[in-house]
């Protein structure tokens, strides 16, 4: 009995990616949004893996999660909180 897991795994990861992408929009806390963004990027990298594009997937992780997401977090950390409607910085 040849049982091919690949389509089910693909569906699982695609679903998780979409769920993470939606929760970026739904989360109130902006840092958590950045975290979900990282999950989304990861999911996209895994989808690339399913497409047999390993190099692209690794570059996706290296550039998007490793660099751009950290840049976004830096932006969040260096922005005054009042601008985003939260309480004042302590």
């Amino acid at each position: 009995m040849a049982f091919d897991l690949a389509p089910y795994l693909f569906m699982t990861f695609a679903g998780l990616t979409i769920a993470a992408a939606i929760s970026i929009l739904l989360t109130k806390e902006i840092v958590r949004s950045a975290l979900f963004l990282a999950f989304t990027f990861f999911g996209v990298a895994i989808v690339y893996m399913f497409l047999n594009a390993e190099f692209l997937s690794l570059i996706q992780i290296l550039v998007y999660v490793g660099a751009i997401n950290v840049l976004i977090l830096f932006g969040v950390m260096l922005t005054k909180r009042k601008l985003m409607g939260g309480g004042p910085c302590e």
Partner: protein
């Protein structure tokens, strides 16, 4: 019984198949034979795919234990050598003080797990797992001998660097979620430093890739065995890689993220008990991975006289590089943030570019063209 010692996978596969075969025999002994309702279970146990799965699980377990032991052992090495560098004895429990770290580990294990009151609890715990996963995954990527590895993918080096580049993200999350200004400053500093020093690190790695024409560790070592150990032509690159590696693993003189004089313990401040212990272990493991990468990229990995097995040469070379890290730690003072970044962009980046040019020239003129 005869086990297959030629490689980690072969060894574990033979071990697990022997184990499962024995289990099947015991099941047969207690009366589960063909015709019994439980017979399919026994058949399933000796199925080659299931054996392979068990072998995979065993590999993961061995790598987890090995990662923790590596961490403990290198903490011991650092403490012992630092002691000698500073004219004192270092740890002294057990043989040469080796069991001091185990005692410390048990102490850390018995502490209460405390989460700060206003911390973002989910992210706070996620950060630990992210750091641990990122660090322990790296250990699986590094081959110790021609057949001893957990994974051997064609893009191993790129995968390793991709995993390495995830650390600043976890750091900044850990710093932010602890709800403490020191951890936040430490996390931001750590992330900035790691991102900045990744650039020269990657450039040096690119020069190695240019020379060897591959991204696979095994093929790199094979190239070095066939031609020349890369430390000699790419001396500048090796130096740059070492300095960038010290900065990547947040060690003195680049330990700004955990500058204990100003930031208590940096981004780890609010972590306690086992979480902190594992993070500490992962820290040393990352430093050690850098050393292992250095020895693969520049020192020829497991190349060496054959009176010792290759993995021993590999470990010895990595330990030698780690010794240099300890030496640097004993000798130097912590530098300022502006000096840190200026040093990276003004000194290391030009050096890395020069090194890349050297690699390209050697590749074109000496090794014999593309």
């Amino acid at each position: 019984m005869m086990f297959d010692y030629s490689g980690l996978y072969q060894f574990l596969y033979s071990v697990s198949s022997w184990l499962l075969w024995e289990v099947g025999r015991i099941l047969g002994f207690i009366g589960i034979d063909s015709g019994n309702i439980l017979y399919p279970i026994r058949q399933f146990l000796v199925d080659p795919q299931f054996v392979y799965f068990v072998a995979l699980l065993l590999t993961a377990l061995i790598y987890l234990v090995a990662a923790l032991l590596f961490g403990i052992q290198f903490i011991w090495m650092e403490r012992k050598f630092l002691g000698r560098f500073m004219d004192r004895r270092g740890t002294s429990v057990g043989f040469l003080g080796f069991f001091q770290n185990f005692a410390d580990a048990f102490k850390v294990l018995l502490k209460a797990v405390i989460t700060p009151k206003d911390a973002d609890k989910r992210v706070y715990q996620f950060a630990i797992f992210a750091i641990l996963a990122v660090s322990f995954m790296l250990l699986g990527l590094v081959p110790w001998d021609i057949n001893w590895y957990a994974v051997n993918v064609p893009l191993a080096l790129l995968l390793g660097l991709a995993v390495f580049s995830l650390a600043p993200f976890a750091l900044i999350l850990a710093g932010w979620s602890s709800n403490n200004k020191y951890t936040l400053i430490g996390g931001i500093r750590g992330a900035a430093q790691l991102i900045a020093y990744e650039v020269p690190l990657l450039l040096v790695v690119v020069s190695v890739i240019v020379m060897t024409g591959t991204l696979n560790f095994n093929e790199m070592v094979a190239w070095q065995q066939g031609n020349i150990i890369l430390f000699i032509p790419l001396f500048i690159g090796a130096l740059t890689f070492f300095i960038a590696g010290v900065a990547e693993s947040e060690r003195v003189p680049f330990d700004l993220p955990e500058a204990e004089a100003e930031l208590v313990e940096g981004w780890q401040t609010e972590y306690g008990s086992l979480g902190w212990g594992l993070v500490m272990c992962a820290d040393y493991l990352r430093a050690f991975i850098i050393c292992a990468l250095f020895s693969i990229l520049f020192l020829g990995g497991w190349t060496g006289p054959t009176f010792l097995p290759g993995s021993v040469w590999m470990l010895a070379k990595a330990a030698l590089v780690f010794f240099f890290m300890i030496w640097v730690r004993a000798a130097m003072v912590r530098i300022r943030t502006d000096q840190l970044l200026k040093f990276c962009w003004n000194r290391l980046l030009p050096l890395a570019v020069i090194n890349l040019a050297v690699a390209v020239l050697i590749k074109i003129y000496a090794v014999g063209g593309w």
